[in-house]
């Protein structure tokens, strides 16, 4: 079946290429918020202020990395799965001898890979513009640590997305969940501000939420700015969330299948 998933990934990328306007817009979607964050940070620091314990260079690098990381790992709105359940498109998938979970996993990351490449290009140009350097100062050890973390964050991100989408088995409309997450996630994942600058109570909560392990912690690991916490503690907590979501998703799927009415 691995040949099928490879072929599916390639087809998904080809399909994405059919919407060329989206690619152009994706440049702007990344550039506008990142540009705003970088300019705002520079403006604040030029007045002699500081955001948390972050030095300006560290913060700018954090924003640039967080932009790329969030493009790949942040929980996406995955309407395809909901529509499959609500409108009966799931019927066809159930009868094919592949896993519906892995089928969507491949499509999800094939699409994300395409848009992440654009995010990398924009973020790299932004990095050159703000730092004047061509190569960011990232240690080899941080890159290895980041890759390990990414191997956990990638399935975690999709598991959360899949879990939220299959809530459509239980609720008539889960658009409200997706809309709510669309507002909450940029904050809760550390995409807008590093989570450690929030007041103690909120920070404690946000740092333990699964969303923190998708953007904030991986970005901190890559910038090398996580000395206040053990790397392996972060990895272990992320693993714990991964196990929780594997179990929860399995239960939600098998129960949901029994409720499924295959409308249409």
């Amino acid at each position: 079946m691995s040949r099928y998933y490879t072929a599916l990934g390639i087809q998904t990328i080809k399909e994405a290429a059919a919407y060329r306007t989206n690619f152009i817009l994706s440049f702007l979607v990344v550039l506008i918020p990142l540009g705003g964050q970088l300019l705002l940070a520079k403006f604040i620091y030029s007045g002699g202020y500081q955001i948390g314990a972050w030095k300006l260079d560290q913060l700018l690098l954090y924003y640039i990395i967080a932009t790329i990381v969030s493009e790949f790992f942040v929980i996406g709105t995955w309407w395809d799965i909901q529509n499959d359940i609500r409108e009966g498109g799931l019927n066809y998938h159930l009868l094919k001898p592949y896993s519906y979970f892995w089928h969507n996993f491949v499509v999800y990351y094939a699409l994300k890979a395409v848009y992440t490449i654009f995010a990398i290009i924009v973020a790299y140009l932004a990095f050159i513009a703000v730092s004047g350097n061509l190569v960011p100062q990232i240690k080899l050890q941080s890159i290895i640590q980041f890759i390990i973390m990414a191997l956990i964050a990638a399935p975690l991100s999709f598991l959360i997305t899949f879990y939220l989408s299959i809530l459509a088995f239980y609720f008539t409309d889960i658009g409200f969940v997706m809309n709510f997450l669309g507002i909450l996630l940029p904050f809760a994942s550390g995409n807008i501000l590093p989570l450690d600058i929030f007041p103690r109570g909120i920070r404690g909560l946000l740092l333990k939420l699964p969303s923190a392990y998708l953007v904030y912690h991986p970005s901190c690991i890559l910038t090398g700015n996580y000395a206040w916490r053990s790397y392996w503690q972060i990895v272990l907590e992320a693993l714990m969330w991964l196990i929780v979501f594997i179990m929860t998703t399995q239960v939600a799927w098998s129960q949901g299948r029994k409720k499924y009415e295959a409308i249409g």
């Binding site: 079946m1 040949r3 099928y4 490879t6 072929a7 599916l8 087809q11 080809k14 399909e15 059919a18 919407y19 009966g88 498109g89 019927n91 066809y92 159930l94 009868l95 094919k96 001898p97 592949y98 299948r257 029994k258 499924y260 009415e261 295959a262 249409g264």
Partner: protein
């Protein structure tokens, strides 16, 4: 294995719970019995048609047979498998086509989407090409294969989806309203294609359709579902012959003569010097000869009911 070429259903029930009153705190639910204790045994050497009105339970039955839905009670065995378990070896042996539901990628040339099937079911590129050529010829498909689905007409898309449903040559293909929304020519082409695949590849088709010809042209066996129950199960030709009526219209000299003929020979209506008889079986000729021997008749006609009229009548009367 005895079960390997059969569908067996024993006392099958499927109940749905539907919300009948929308309320924030206490919604009211009602139980609907879509399938009511049916039993069936079908040998997969023959295609099977499922007749029924809207809401009779046709599509629910197909979903239960494919394993998409879980039954409320009863047993189902298809090809020796319990469908709901959806084991990969079972899934490889079945195909599903639902009219109006698309599964191919909208923006890519159809051939690229179709090619995914060879990775799913694991057959070679040469075999894929051979099957595509074979199917394309049978369905009269040309350059359309290289077009994205979104640029195709409904009929063309339907043909592509059909190919995708059974390019892996399964043992059973479930066709749920395969010709819905198609023109007469495309419908006839699809029916020819179904018969071609049945003969050529030994695929058994289970067809539900409101187009009666889809079933009468393709299925030797049929069941008639009414309100979740099977009211007929058997040979399609027998069902049609059993309910076949011939309508004989005779023109007599006057209304009085027409009335006399009707009274003597059991006519159903008399109007404007015309007597109408409804005859089952092959009694029409005999009846006309008897009347002609005794009365002067200026004209007569015999009209047989077509399959659609017969099925409509069966469904109406239940």
């Amino acid at each position: 294995m005895e079960n390997s070429r059969t569908i067996r259903i024993e006392s099958l029930w499927k109940k749905y719970r539907v919300k009948t009153s929308v309320s924030l705190f206490r919604p009211v639910y009602k139980e609907i019995e879509a399938i009511r204790g049916i039993s069936l045994c079908h040998n997969l050497d023959h295609n099977l048609g499922i007749f029924g009105k809207n809401g009779a339970g046709k599509t629910t039955l197909v979903k239960l047979l494919t394993g998409i839905l879980h039954s409320s009670s009863g047993e189902i065995l298809v090809l020796g498998h319990i469908p709901y378990k959806l084991k990969p070896e079972f899934k490889k042996q079945i195909g599903l086509f639902q009219g109006g539901k698309e599964q191919l990628i909208w923006d890519l040339p159809a051939i690229q989407s179709l090619e995914l099937s060879r990775y799913i079911y694991g057959f070679s590129r040469d075999e894929f090409k051979k099957r595509i050529t074979h199917f394309s010829q049978a369905l009269d498909i040309g350059d359309e294969l290289d077009q994205p689905l979104r640029n195709m007409s409904l009929g063309q898309r339907c043909k592509m989806e059909l190919i995708y449903s059974f390019i892996h040559l399964p043992k059973i293909v479930f066709l749920d309203e395969p010709t819905s929304g198609l023109d007469i020519i495309t419908r006839s082409k699809l029916r020819g294609f179904i018969n071609f695949c049945h003969k050529e590849y030994g695929i058994c088709f289970i067809i539900t359709s409101h187009n009666v010809k889809d079933i009468t042209d393709c299925c030797n066996s049929c069941i008639v579902l009414d309100n979740g129950e099977i009211i007929y199960q058997g040979d399609t030709t027998f069902l049609l012959e059993k309910h076949q009526h011939e309508v004989i219209t005779l023109s007599a000299k006057s209304n009085d003569v027409a009335r006399e003929i009707a009274e003597k020979f059991g006519g159903t209506t008399v109007e404007d010097e015309e007597v109408v008889f409804e005859s089952t079986g092959n009694h029409s000729k005999q009846l006309i000869c008897q009347i002609l021997a005794q009365y002067e008749i200026s004209d007569f006609s015999i009209k047989k009911k077509d399959d659609e009229e017969i099925i409509t009548e069966i469904l109406k009367n239940e």
